[in-house]
Amino acid sequence: MDRRSFLKTTALATAGLTFGSSILFHSNAAELVDSPPPKKPYDEALKEITKGKSVSDSDKVKLVAPEIAENGAVVPITVEVELPIEQVKAIHILADKNWNARTMSVYFTPANGKAYISTRIRLAETMNVVAIAELADGTFIKAQKPVKVTIGGCG
């Protein structure tokens, strides 16, 4: 078979093979709705977590985030609280300009050994990432970092 007709044949081939969907992709027809989910701005998110209690800055909360994020879809965030695990109840990660300012809340037990969480979050624009540690004694401490989000590079 010469190259032209071979390539023509393969070019005509469509992804027509059907497969058991257990191997492949779940999303096919996306469900469409009329309205977006309710907004949860930073103040509301903060209140939800602290119930109005004060939050003080603390260098015991170590927040690692890039100064400039390569893209807004994937921003690596690591939070570690330098206190014995028995003293840390939870870590809450907030993004203060996102539609939903709450990103992740992690509730620990002593079995974790270390109050540590590493993940990747979405940031809609340049904003502050706030890591709030909820302590076993009911108090809250935090650290925050501004993260620049650019359109970035070429596409």
Binding site: A11, A13, A15, I68, P76, G153, C154
Partner: protein, 272 residues
Amino acid sequence: MFKDKKKNRRMFFILVAAGSLAVSSKVISAEDAGQAISEEDLKLYKSGINPGEVFAQDVGGALFNKPMGTSNKSCSSCHSEEKLKKAVGTYPKYDPKVNAVISLQQRIQMCQKLNQGVDKPFDLKSQENTALLTYLKYIASGEKINVDISSNPVVKEYYDYGKYVFELKRGKRNISCAVCHEYAAGMVLRMQKLNPLGFEYNGIKGVTAAAHWPAYRMTQSKVVTLEQRFQQCMSQASMQVLPLGSKEMVALELYITSLANGATIEAPGFVR
């Protein structure tokens, strides 16, 4: 050079100074050119699991082991992974059956049609073909890129054509791939440093791109092939996008892959 050692040493320093001046006038560091993402920040992206690896193993691996076509055979029933992984780094490669250079993606299609008896092989833009490609590059991680660019006239033609496509200025901005990836390499474009696509260009360290593609693109939350990346680059550069699997694209893929000859495959990559 001179018999007098002192003169030699002085000449040496003058030449070095002149050389570095010449080089520094052409090369601008990212920090000087404008604020760019720092090396420390880029390191943060290196830790953690690449979702592309899950895609390679679970989706690609499953397809590799799935019986297909009239033969009801899977890729694994004919191919030992030990042998296959040595072959991956040689693509794009000359195939005498079609008297042309073909990409690994096209080789997968050929195998499906001719050996498995699949009536309609997975399309080049399909996630299935991408998954199989990703699986093959994934198991070949650790092997070296090793494409032939000179052993016969067809291969030579494709190499020259690929280099031509890389250097051809076209589109609304009248730029070529070489404008960003060679001429302006080292400069900053929208907070990202522009990189050469091989080992280095003009003293600026390159990224040996072909060794870590296909890659999981964070901005698209999926694994993208090298040819698809070319299309996305072309679109961003306001050039007409070339079709996947066309002679131009395969030639370009051969050329870009040859720039990484000797580099160790580490796929799938994790990129913006």
